[in-house]
Amino acid sequence: MHRYEKIWLTVSSVLIIGFTLIVGYQAFAMDLGPPSDMETIDPQKVDSTAPFDEPGITQIGDKEYEVVMTLQAFSFTPRDLEFPEGSTVHFIMTSKDVVHGMQIAGTNFNAMITPGHVTRMTQTFDEAGDFLVICNEFCGTGHEMMSTEINIR
């Protein structure tokens, strides 16, 4: 093997191992792992299974809220959410039919909402504004209409 070859192979290995370690550190030490909830639910009985039998917003502390949300073709329930600036919001979500996505544009909030699974995510809104919430997984012919807003005042 040539000397350059050895150098290059070493650099390649260091790069790959380095990236892996960074991801690991972020995921496990900084708790920045991707949404990976293992909780399940019968997708045919969402309407009668707590907490999704009563979707909505509950205030659980000072500027802290819990949102129980169902996604279905082609809407979010509840919709048009409003919170004061600086609120921390815990979302609990599931799908009533097909696979949906939920993304809050301009934030890192991005998750697949698959039928049969419950996804929990938390987002803090530090700035005022009208945040666009969209479904970002194709879910049928009304997919491009599936959106709502989170208004932070």
């Binding site: 991707p34 045919q44 993304q103 991005n110 698959t114 049969g116 009208d130 491009e144």
Partner: protein, 570 residues
């Protein structure tokens, strides 16, 4: 084959020569060429149709073109995906490797050629069946067909036929390689055939996953034999295949980089042994990468996802070796032509040769594509870009530039070679401009898609104003740029398809070379045989697959979510 016996006992070096002459006598190659031509015609017709649909998408998303209700955006997108990911690429791959095998393994046997034709018609029947269901609105499920969306059963039967066709084409390659090895005991398979075996091994084993999804899960469920389907298992099986498929086109492209480029630029091939190591690594490590499509899915635990980040990043290793190999052969060929200094070789490359330019831009764009791929495999970054237009930008760079542009570069000599015609200087110039136009168009579209994806614009979404939301309207200028890029790309594709058909039916008759580079080691030394132990590589491949899939799949099946009934949301 009779020529095998005739040339028994002739010394190594002369053997090749005699074989060449015999091949011409036998006319075997002509029949193989017809087969390869049939595959190429289907491939490039699908490319044209797919590109026109792509243009429609680009224009629609920018609000410039309204689609009728009987052929909506998602029918267009399903067809675009199927035509380009499943048909254009796989027909090209089979045509190219069958021509390559015919060339380097002394022609296809009658049996293999028949298998090639039967694969061809099976795939055509499957494709027509599947696409017809999309056209009549019975299968608006995109090419990923995620359950619990359920298309008509005919759509899935069409896919099944396509997979059956793929399997036949795989067996054709395996039989050819086995035959050659038996007749040439102890010798390494010629390098292009080695790449072919690697590609078709991946194709065969990865398609088992999607076959399992379609045959054992989806079809019984759409027919109502079972009530519900396990959504996560289906997604996982799909991506074991879908991800690998993309890497198979990449492997096909890489074969041309390693084998064809050296001959075109008049340099040696990179080390024969290391080249084979790259192929083997790509085969052994590939299938687990599918999980990086599911980084933000629920139902897969974090440690498992973390293991897959590593398994995905490791695929970068052979690619980094490839980067090294390419600079190596460029430099060698430059030195041979008298280049001096650190970068003198750059000027000595045949920039005016379309066969080279297309391959070079394809390689260069893989640096961008590879870097983007590494970025989005990492958890946190993935969460930012998942399902945004960033991803669409990424795979137009990797598929549309790296893979498709290599295919274009190959077509400039392969099509005339199998058609008994020549690439004239005039057509070379036209092909050169084709390459430039396509590169400009796709660069614009992909770069803008990356950027607007970071801003949050979603993929797979028809024109929408999201009820006048300000964030959504801030994306509009970028969507217009995407439409512009899409228009330039479409011009490039029309030029490309014109080039292909001109070279097939109109160009002056003559002989165009099938450029295969000579091994750097030369033919003098006998090379070790361990690289040829495919049974070992396949075992190792299954070991990595088992490491990657057994735990999560078992978890999904045993502790998995209650299933979903079929849904029709279109």
């Amino acid at each position: 084959m009779t020529n095998q016996q005739t040339i028994e006992g002739i010394p190594q070096t002369e053997k090749g020569h005699v074989k060449d002459r015999l091949k011409k006598f036998m006319g075997v190659q002509r029949k193989d060429a017809t087969l390869a031509k049939a595959y190429m015609i289907v491939s490039f017709v699908s490319l044209l149709l797919g590109a026109l649909l792509g243009l429609v998408q680009g224009l629609n998303r920018a609000g410039l073109f309204e689609l009728p209700y009987w052929f909506n955006y998602y029918q267009v997108l399903t067809s675009h995906g199927l035509l380009l990911v499943l048909i254009f690429t796989s027909f090209f791959m089979i045509g190219y490797f069958y021509a390559g095998i015919s060339n380097t393994l002394d022609g296809l046997s009658n049996g293999v050629r028949k298998l090639g034709w039967s694969a061809f018609w099976t795939k055509i029947a499957g494709a027509l069946l599947a696409v017809s269901q999309v056209l009549i609105g019975e299968a608006t499920v995109l090419y990923t067909f995620y359950p619990p969306m359920a298309a008509s059963v005919w759509f899935y039967l069409g896919l099944t036929l396509i997979v059956l066709g793929i399997w036949q084409s795989c067996f054709g390659v395996f039989i050819s390689a086995a035959k050659w090895r038996k007749a040439n005991k102890g010798q390494r398979l010629p390098i292009l055939a080695f790449f072919a075996v690697g590609g078709f091994v991946l194709l065969f084993f990865s398609s088992l996953f999607v076959a399992a999804e379609v045959l054992f899960m989806i079809i019984p469920w759409t027919l109502g034999w079972v009530e519900t389907i396990n959504v996560m298992v289906a997604r996982t099986l799909f991506w074991a295949f879908g991800h690998t498929l993309v890497n198979i086109w990449y492997l096909t492209a890489v074969s041309a980089w390693y084998v064809i480029t050296p001959k075109i630029i008049d340099g040696p091939r990179f080390s024969d042994t290391l080249t084979r190591v790259v192929v083997v690594l790509l085969v052994v490590l590939n299938i687990p990468g599918g999980f990086h499509h599911q980084i933000v899915d629920p139902g897969i635990s974090e440690p498992i996802k973390y293991m897959h980040v590593y398994m995905s990043l490791v695929i970068g290793f052979p690619s980094l070796m490839t980067a090294y190999a390419m600079f190596y052969i460029f430099e060698k060929s430059g030195r041979k032509k008298g280049a001096k200094g650190l970068f003198g070789w750059f000027k000595k490359l045949p920039w005016k040769d379309a066969r080279f330019l297309a391959l070079f831009i394809a390689m260069a764009s893989f640096i961008v594509g590879g870097a983007g791929g590494i970025a989005q495999t990492m958890h946190q970054l993935n969460q930012v870009v998942h399902n945004s237009l960033w991803v669409v930008g990424h795979f137009h760079v990797t598929l549309g530039m790296t893979a498709a542009m290599t295919f274009f570069g190959v077509s400039y000599w392969l099509i005339p070679h199998i058609s008994g015609r020549q690439l004239t200087p005039k057509m070379n110039r036209f092909a050169w401009w084709t390459t430039i136009v396509w590169a400009i168009g796709i660069s614009i579209m992909s770069l803008v898609m990356h950027y607007v994806g970071l801003l949050g614009a979603p993929r797979r979404t028809a024109f929408t104003e999201y009820m006048g939301n300000a964030t959504a309207s801030s994306w509009d200028p970028y969507l217009l740029l995407i439409a512009g890029g899409a228009t330039i790309m479409t011009i490039g594709i029309i030029m490309q398809v014109y080039t292909v058909f001109h070279l097939m039916f109109r160009a002056p008759k003559g002989e165009e070379e099938f450029p295969i580079g000579e091994a750097e080691e030369g033919n003098a030394i006998k090379l070790p045989y361990w690289t040829e132990r495919w049974s070992v590589w396949i075992l190792l491949m299954w070991a990595t697959i088992a490491m990657a899939y057994v735990v999560p799949l078992v978890e999904m099946m045993i502790n998995g979510a209650p299933g979903s009934p079929p849904q029709r949301t279109w």
